[in-house]
Symmetry: C2
Subunit: 141 residues, 2 copies
């Protein structure tokens, strides 16, 4: 539906809430993370700590590189290593009160943004799909 | 730079040309494809046939699922199976003469589009990053 106030819309109105986001904990094994990634079908997901804050992003490329040894793939590393040893700590974050223009700009670089409340707790993600769908409706008027 | 005529721009002006796109052939092994994916860092890439047309898209999730057997990961399948046995054949395509609105609409669903010439030959890809960057410039005027 046409959102006349797209640029006045807060991120919280557009995000996928945390309950619907596939995530892992930094203490999980790579094996666990790979299962979540392949079963959910997502290529990259947030990594949370026990306090519910985002600490990193894990993707299957990072996991595959971690298990590739001198003489081939070392499958045992999957259960031996933890997500926090391998994840990327470069995480794009926005506050849930942030207006559209800033997430829009960040989405040029990032397929999804991690949304946090004022206390720094993870509350959802904002995806390129959502941003593009909103922009498309804007132009279709 | 501000593109006043964004909606009159042809896809060929915005695409990443084929020479700069990481691809594989359907006859390549999964092992070869996984190497290209992990080394390029891209999560999904086009699969071409010998005539240079796009036949599918391969991503690491499809490969990992293909090697996951009853009793764990079966690494030997990587060299035994071919890309064409595992790839997705659902490929978003646009002509290089296509104007912006159509790729923009498709990008809501697809992270990248395969661009072809009138003969159906692969000539490049158009990414969400490019589309979002162009839209952002449009709004920044
Ligand atoms: N189950 C599904 N149903 C329908 N379409 C699907 C889908 N899985 C993937 N797609 C499509 O493929 C795009 C890329 O997904 P990817 O997993 O690489 O990249 C995703 C993934 O890394 C992350 N993501 C999206 N939804 C997520 C969720 N519920 N939980 C965790 N991560 C999510 O955000 C990135 C961008 O997502 P976005 O939706 O913009 O873009 C998605 C969407 O257009
Ligand atoms: N080497 C790099 N340098 C800078 N940024 C990088 C990067 N690799 C990935 N990214 C960032 O991550 C996004 C998702 O990449 P992904 O590989 O999942 O998803 C990519 C990949 O599947 C494909 N793709 C992009 N460029 C490609 C290329 N040169 N060859 C083959 N496939 C490509 O199109 C999808 C969307 O690309 P898009 O640029 O919109 O979005 C990219 C880009 O914003």
């Amino acid at each position: 539906s046409y959102n006349a106030d797209l640029f006045q819309t807060e991120t919280r109105k557009l995000m996928i809430p945390a309950a619907d986001v596939a995530c892992v904990n930094g203490h999980n094994s790579l094996e666990h993370a790979l299962l979540i990634l392949t079963q959910s079908g997502y290529t990259a997901i947030p990594v949370l700590d026990r306090a519910g804050a985002v600490k990193g992003i894990i993707n299957s490329t990072l996991i595959i590189k971690a298990i590739l040894g001198i003489s081939g793939y070392e499958i045992e590393r999957l259960s031996e290593q933890k997500v926090e040893q391998v994840m990327s700590v470069d995480v794009p974050k926005v506050k849930e009160s942030q207006l559209f223009l800033r997430p829009f700009e960040l989405s040029i670089t990032w397929p999804f943004l991690c949304v946090e409340d004022d206390a720094g707790k993870f509350v959802g993600i904002l995806t390129r799909r959502t941003i593009l769908a909103q922009l498309y409706q804007y132009f279709r008027r």
